[in-house]
């Protein structure tokens, strides 16, 4: 029997890839695939969190001093921005599920805008730190008592927030694609896997920040 005859008995819906039997199987596969990918991401950032853990335990004073130099208002604002973007992302997924294309496009747009605001604020912070000579390397300047180990703090700060920002940029790329296919009307209440899976990724990137914020900005900020 030719392959066509086997597949030919039941017409295959447009968005159902040939290897799947039905839309439910395809949706579950897509969703599980993203969860597995996020597990990879957790371990990826995990290496950095481990490094952070070791050096913060070794050099608590230098890490506290370094943390105090960060712009806490910027970090706090960014946390609020990202949490809000997670809300709009969840609303976008809901709009996709209910087949409301106008709302879907609106919420995707707001999510992207919030992502851009985050990156803008982050860029402003990086600039400030550059001006204040807090970028590790030959030009690094800090209170001599903690200079060497504060440099480790800032190395971790730039690497962790930098990787996070990179994930945000990738997320914006995904959101743009989501916006484009939603605009073209590909997304319906029957087929919204891309939005759901893209949303999972977006929430993950937010959650990474939820850990980064206290670890980097809030060291020893509690009242004595």
């Amino acid at each position: 029997m030719s392959p066509d005859a086997a597949a030919g008995t039941v017409p295959h819906p447009t968005h159902l890839a040939h290897q799947f039997d039905d839309a439910g199987q395809q949706r579950e596969a897509a969703s599980l695939g993203m969860w597995v990918f996020l597990a990879t991401e957790v371990l990826f950032f995990g290496g950095l969190f481990t490094t952070y853990l070791v050096y913060r335990n070794w050099y608590p004073a230098a890490f506290a001093a370094g943390s105090h130099e960060l712009l806490i208002w910027a970090g706090t604002t960014n946390t609020a921005v990202l949490i809000t973007s997670s809300l709009t992302m969840a609303l976008a997924v809901h709009a996709a599920q209910t087949g409301n294309r106008r709302l879907l496009l609106l919420f995707l747009l707001v999510t992207m805008a919030l992502g851009l605001v985050f990156l803008g604020i982050k860029g402003f912070e990086y600039h400030t730190e550059y001006v204040e000579h807090h970028v590790p390397g030959a030009g690094f300047q800090f209170d001599p008592a903690n200079a060497q180990h504060a440099q480790l703090f800032f190395s971790l700060y730039f690497l962790m927030t930098g990787l996070h920002a990179l994930h945000m940029i990738v997320g914006l790329g995904i959101m743009s694609t989501m916006f484009w296919i939603s605009w073209r009307g590909v997304i319906t209440s029957e087929y919204y896997n891309p939005i759901e899976v893209g949303g999972l990724y977006w929430h993950f990137v937010d959650i990474v920040w939820i850990f980064l914020f206290p670890l980097l900005y809030l060291i020893a900020r509690h009242a004595h």
Partner: protein, 538 residues
């Protein structure tokens, strides 16, 4: 069952152009793309091994300079570990068989599967470029501070190539996990799955959870070299031992990435060529998962002499012993499967038996080096080299060769020359032991690894080892030729040349692009071969 010797339509004649291969989403064709790529990398890695063994024939460093020698063993390790052993069985046999064995049309994400091959090739060629345009001399382990502050070789490009290739492992693992969870045919329950799939699943878990850690570690190395961040530099407050922790958190489980798939293959082979249900199926299945989980808890045994606390060393030593339990369970169960089985000595079975013996030696010497006291004596000697080559070459490659021969008729639709294949299997077994057994003795006597010169009293054993390596090399070349030859001239195989059970043998050889004419419904357990004793009585 009607045997179709030559199916009119199959995945190999479904398009002939270069685009039909380079843009294919068929898991079977992607498996062949991987097969060609890893064979290439295997021979590149082998070439470096040839040069190493040539240098070591004489006690003085006369063939290459010490720096060139450093690059040779580094490039041998990098090529073999990252570009041959890790992808070997999963990316070729796994890619080909996972959908066939569960009765699916393809993997869950065919496009991602093709992407992972491109990522693999990109990383591999980039690393190869770094190696031939100057090389890397850090050892495949990239230990700091040498790799970050001292080495002037191409560390960043090589690390970048491995970093990129890691994503192909992750995507393959992700694809397998989702496929095994979501794509099984009706009736194919978890405990009806062939044990090869359990081992693929366990391997995939390591791919997904281990690989990102080596990725971030290599990124830290690159950042350290580029921006002088000082994470691993004691002069800046960093800790070189932290690198070793991070590195081995992946690289020890990576050993199980290499050997678990081979174990899965051996389970298939032992059942098929003893015509018996694998003894203790459930235990063997869970042993794979146990090895994957325990494999993540033993990395510290690489740091016994690196300034690890004595308590940490004791814990890691005990945990390492624990890995021996599921490993031994497998060996005992394969042996018990063979017991009173109707054993046929086909080539794949020769490799399976070779695997069981060599893996046992490799595993038992693993217990030696997991004991803190002995490890201090043999660490960084040829004893360790011999130990892990028994696992990686004697274990993983034996399993790979056995699987390749077993499924070759399914992949190509043709039979290879059984006589030559048996000869080659024998040559490989002999050559392997002659190469690596003397290294146990050399190491125990104190010959350190990674030196291109050595005291004259070690020469006899080194000459034996080099002689063995040349035999081993010939042994690997023979299959290359007769397998290629069989593609055109081999007799047609038919759907099931081994009279084996398993869904992959119910479809034609080669299988159609869609794998099965109709989605199969499974009502039987794996390895229902019937009882051989009864059949003898009858």
């Amino acid at each position: 069952m009607a045997t179709v010797l030559a199916p009119p339509h199959h995945y190999l004649n479904d398009g002939y152009g270069i685009k039909s291969w380079l843009l294919t989403r068929d898991h079977k064709r992607i498996a062949l793309l991987y097969l060609a790529s890893i064979t290439f990398f295997f021979f590149v890695g082998g070439l470096f091994a040839v040069l190493i063994r040539l240098e070591l024939i004489t006690p003085v460093g006369d063939l290459v300079s010490d720096e060139t020698y450093n690059k040779l063993f580094t490039m041998h390790g990098i090529m073999m570990v990252f570009f041959f052993l890790i992808p070997s069985i999963p990316a070729t046999l796994g890619n080909f068989l996972v959908p066939l064995m569960i009765g699916a049309k393809d993997l869950a994400f065919p496009r991602l599967n093709l992407a992972s091959w491109y990522i693999f090739l990109l990383g591999g060629l980039f690393t190869l470029y770094a190696l031939v345009t100057g090389g890397v001399d850090t050892g495949w382990t990239f230990y700091v501070p040498f790799s970050t502050t001292s080495s002037t070789s191409n560390v960043i490009p090589a690390a970048l190539g491995i970093f990129v290739t890691g994503f192909s492992s992750i995507l393959t693992g992700l694809n397998f996990i989702v496929t095994i969870h979501r794509m099984r045919a009706p009736g194919m329950t978890w405990f009806r799955m062939p044990l090869f799939l359990w081992s693929m699943y366990a391997t995939s878990v390591i791919f997904v959870l281990g690989t990102p850690v080596i990725a971030i570690t290599l990124l830290l190395i690159a950042a350290e070299r580029l921006f002088h961040f000082g994470f691993f530099d004691p002069a800046l407050g960093g800790d070189p031992v932290l690198f070793q922790h991070l590195f081995w958190f992946y690289s020890h489980p990576a050993v199980y990435i290499m050997v678990l798939p081979a174990m899965g293959v051996v389970s298939e082979l032992v059942a098929a060529f003893c015509r018996k249900q694998v003894f203790g199926y459930t235990v063997v299945a869970f042993a794979s998962l146990a090895i994957a989980v325990l494999g993540f808890l033993v990395w510290g045994h690489h740091l016994f002499v690196a300034g690890e606390s004595v308590y940490a060393a004791m814990i890691f030593s005990i945990l390492s012993y624990l890995v021996a339990i599921p490993s031994a369970v497998k060996v005992f169960n394969w042996t018990a499967t063979m017991y009173k089985g109707s054993i046929s000595w086909a080539t794949p079975m020769l490799y399976a038996i070779g695997f069981i013996g060599l893996f046992t030696i490799g595993g038992l010497t693993g217990l030696f080096v997991a004991a803190v006291g002995i490890d201090v004596h043999v660490t960084d000697t040829y004893f360790v080299i011999a130990h892990f080559h028994y696992i990686m070459v004697g274990g993983a490659i034996m399993g790979y060769m056995g699987g390749l021969h077993y499924w070759w008729p399914k992949i190509s639709g043709r039979l290879y020359n059984e006589f030559l294949a048996k000869i080659a299997a024998g040559i490989i077994f002999l050559g392997f032991n002659l190469t690596f057994f003397p290294q146990f003795i050399l190491g125990y006597l104190g010959m350190p690894r990674r030196y291109h010169a050595y005291p004259p009293e070690f020469q006899v054993l080194n000459v034996l080892s080099s002689a063995g390596a040349s035999i081993l090399g010939v042994g690997y070349l023979i299959p290359f030729f007769y397998l290629m030859w069989s593609l055109r001239y081999g007799p047609l195989a038919g759907s099931n040349p081994w009279s084996a059970v398993g869904l992959e043998w119910t479809t034609t050889s080669p299988p159609p692009t869609e794998n099965f004419a109709r989605t199969p419904t499974v009502t039987w357990n794996a390895y229902e071969y019937g009882e051989p004793i009864e059949s003898h009585v009858a």
